[in-house]
Symmetry: C2
């Protein structure tokens, strides 16, 4: 073994013998220059490996033909309207992206076996699953020309999509949230590749790698603890801020706006987390478009502060935390009407980071204007709560941030019980608020007592009935601003 | 399709027809009880699936026969002695664990193809790689009886080890740090299984799942950016605190002590991160044993505080950060001898978390005693710096924590340059300290100026010579306490 030729003459001799076996005297002239007749063998122009446009997909990239996402809006005449499931609203938009790019053949949707299960059934109105083998009578939507790529291997889906993007096309990977960790390591390498190539002037930007994580931690139906892991975004935000983006649209119109943005973007990894179950809708399309452009904002229609500083900021990020926060606000406004409450919703998670850490980060002044410098912030978060602390620890008001999120408590249970197990439910959010506001006094303590009874009632009810209490299932937002 | 039998009589009829096709009248009596002659067919005792001891490995688990880890100690008569590479010291200990349990056949070492590359060559003095197919003359250490399991698939290694543990045996998975992310999702499921089964009284604890991550982010030799990702521990600490443990031994004797503990432990996931390259050794075996039992502590021999509160706390976690911190302390003690410096080293990462969050967490009083309530803490960390903030954001002195770690800057370069690129090197640590201590005045500013010149000199030197400057390569600790 040649381990250290610098200090072992025997090693040096072995190395020399080995290198001489390539007969360098036939390849180089006496000055060590490659002989011209050999140098001439190398290909030129785009036939050079590094200059072949297929190895520099950005050169071949053509913009997607995009429909106007506003045309697919859910009707939301007033906040709190029942919705059909956010990804089911997204489906027709993706279907038409597919249709409009059928001629230029540069858009595909990838996923293990979950296109239907993630609520994107509309895609099959215009295309099929790609399938080149024999089909049987009971098969659905299989065709050699299909542009939906399904294989029950997240690795295969990720690899297909990366290759598709690197050669100058566009795509979307839809996956159950918990199982996207399967490709953590592949994501790593792609994100590293994006970071490095962004610094090489001859490399042209490629389309972003877009993840749509539906079937998320809070709504697992017949699945349980094994299907609950919202940690992919913890993994993602470790990569260079210049290439990663994370979005948690609270409703269908926000999802449409975010997805339109992601499909047009270049050289990022975009992670979008969205629900597929019927859920309340909050913003009409104009409000959603503005909210997503801002990435974060006060929901004045849900707040009852009146110009002055609020007593508490109720912040939320993710569709289920937004629902629970608004239900908590509803209880507080009814039971403790003197409290001045501000509701802040976060769509673009990276708004929370300091400007110095992420290009999307809010300035400290803007952050303080939203979250105040001194008031308690009760923050309901989609994923592991520590991520919010990690992103905000340098902010003025960080010591007053009280974050609820998933803390690895779950089983096969009702949707509301999932939030109760992790203390993200409306009742715990109200109790947290009371704990942070001593001025709620006797009335606050009474309300807390009442909610503790409610939580016990909830447990009894779901054990007896296998579904959530009617007041939870049928809850509707009904406040005017 | 039967989607809603409760409200669709047609669906209900389909459901009833389907269930009746199982002919329940042959299986149950008129009161709905299973017929006794059928009930009697079920196996009894340990022949029941759930009571089979092979499905409850803890019942079969036998303690490992353990050699005394102190017998494998690196000789460290004085701090800073050159070492041969920490995992190379661990190797003979693991070899003897293997040897002592050869008769009871309940210990195996798993890894992709890195047993040698991770410095565990001593294992092949007593066993081989398990290999049942034909061998060739150039093959090394292959045998059907081998107890080292190698396959270049991290998934296969993880699956093998999980099965081995679940059926009542013991093992260790050694892996390059960056590539352990390949099994993120499998780790998730195992950690969830440990959490749930810890609450089932009939399930007996199994041996811990032990990861040894050598070949880590800071020492990648001929590998580069693709091989740099210290984020597995971010992923791990999202799981329930009751089942996860993370250790970063700063030298070989600490590694021996930690590994002895891990191999004896039950029902945890232990992650141990260690170096394989020659590096200074800090603690003799007695000091190492005590330091690892504490998990965190002041290194008095490196500090020059004299009873009062120090001016600055230099904290370090991980072998390379410890080296750079001590080199920084050395510069500070020479150039600014009036500064009172405390050195704190962290072996057990979970000591940083509040007691309420992790069973290993320090009390706030103990934390404040180590890190002070008011002094700047310059923290050199092995992995992504945000993890330290995430673990410490509730601590009194958190606002004064300034953490350096890996921030996705890397390439194929010299070992010291890796730390420079991420500003974790001794020079940056000194400059950080000066920035936080205005009392260093003119002398501090001069030293900073000098180090900026040094950093430029470093860049020139490595570009010209392809290795680090002699003063870096040959640096030795030489202070007495």
């Amino acid at each position: 073994m040649i381990s250290d030729p610098a200090t072992h003459p025997g090693h040096l001799k072995l190395l020399e013998d080995w290198l001489r076996s390539y007969r360098p005297e036939e390849l180089f002239d006496e000055l060590g220059r490659l002989k011209p007749e050999l140098a001439d063998l190398a290909p030129t122009g785009t036939r050079r490996m590094g200059a072949n446009p297929h190895a520099n997909g950005g050169l071949l990239l053509r913009d997607l033909q995009m429909p106007d996402f506003r045309d697919y809006a859910a009707k939301v005449p007033t906040p709190g309207m029942p919705g059909i499931g956010d990804t089911h609203v997204l489906g027709p938009f993706l279907r038409d992206v597919m249709k409009l790019n059928d001629a230029q053949k540069n858009f595909r949707v990838f996923g293990p076996d979950e296109t239907l299960s993630n609520g994107l059934e509309a895609l099959f109105e215009t295309t099929e699953r790609q399938w080149a083998a024999a089909t049987e009578a009971t098969d659905q939507w299989l065709a050699p020309t299909g542009r939906v790529m399904e294989m029950l291997s997240e690795h295969q889906c990720e690899g297909w999509l990366e290759g598709y993007l690197l050669t100058g096309r566009h795509g979307l990977f839809n996956c159950y949230e918990a199982f996207i960790h399967i490709v953590d390591s592949m994501f790593n390498q792609h994100a590293k590749w994006l970071k490095v190539t962004a610094g090489l002037p001859w490399r042209k930007p490629i389309a972003s790698l877009n993840y749509l994580l539906a079937s998320h931690v809070w709504r697992q139906d017949h699945n349980g603890f094994t299907h609950q892991d919202p940690g992919f975004i913890d993994h993602v935000v470790n990569k260079k801020a210049s290439v990663v983006r994370v979005y948690l649209p609270p409703d269908a119109n926000c999802l449409l706006s975010v997805m339109d943005h992601c499909l047009r973007s270049r050289h990022y990894v975009n992670v979008v987390i969205a629900g597929k179950h019927p859920a309340p809708q909050w913003l009409d399309m104009d409000a959603a478009t503005k909210h997503c452009a801002d990435g974060i904002g006060i929901w004045h229609w849900a707040s009852n502060e009146d110009g002055g500083e609020p007593d508490v900021v109720m912040a939320c990020c993710g569709d289920v935390p937004t629902l629970e926060t608004l239900a908590a606000v509803s209880i507080l406004r009814e039971q403790l009407p003197d409290l001045k409450i501000r509701v802040v919703n976060v769509v673009d998670l990276m708004k929370l980071q300091p400007q110095s850490e992420h290009p999307h980060g809010l300035s400290d002044a803007a952050f303080d204007a939203l979250f105040t410098k001194t008031r308690p912030v009760i923050f309901a978060f989609h994923a592991y709560p520590w991520l919010v602390h990690r992103l905000t620890y340098r902010r003025t008001n960080h010591d007053n941030f009280h974050v609820r999120g998933y803390k690895e408590e779950g089983t096969i249970t009702t949707p509301f019980d999932m939030t109760v197990l992790n203390e993200l439910d409306r009742f715990h959010l109200v109790m947290d608020t009371i704990d942070r506001l001593p001025q709620t006094g006797e009335k606050g303590l009474e309300l807390k007592q009442h909610l503790i009874v409610k939580l016990a009632e909830h447990k009894r009810y779901i054990n007896a009935n296998g579904q959530d209490m009617p007041e939870i299932r049928n809850w509707l937002w009904h406040h005017s601003p």
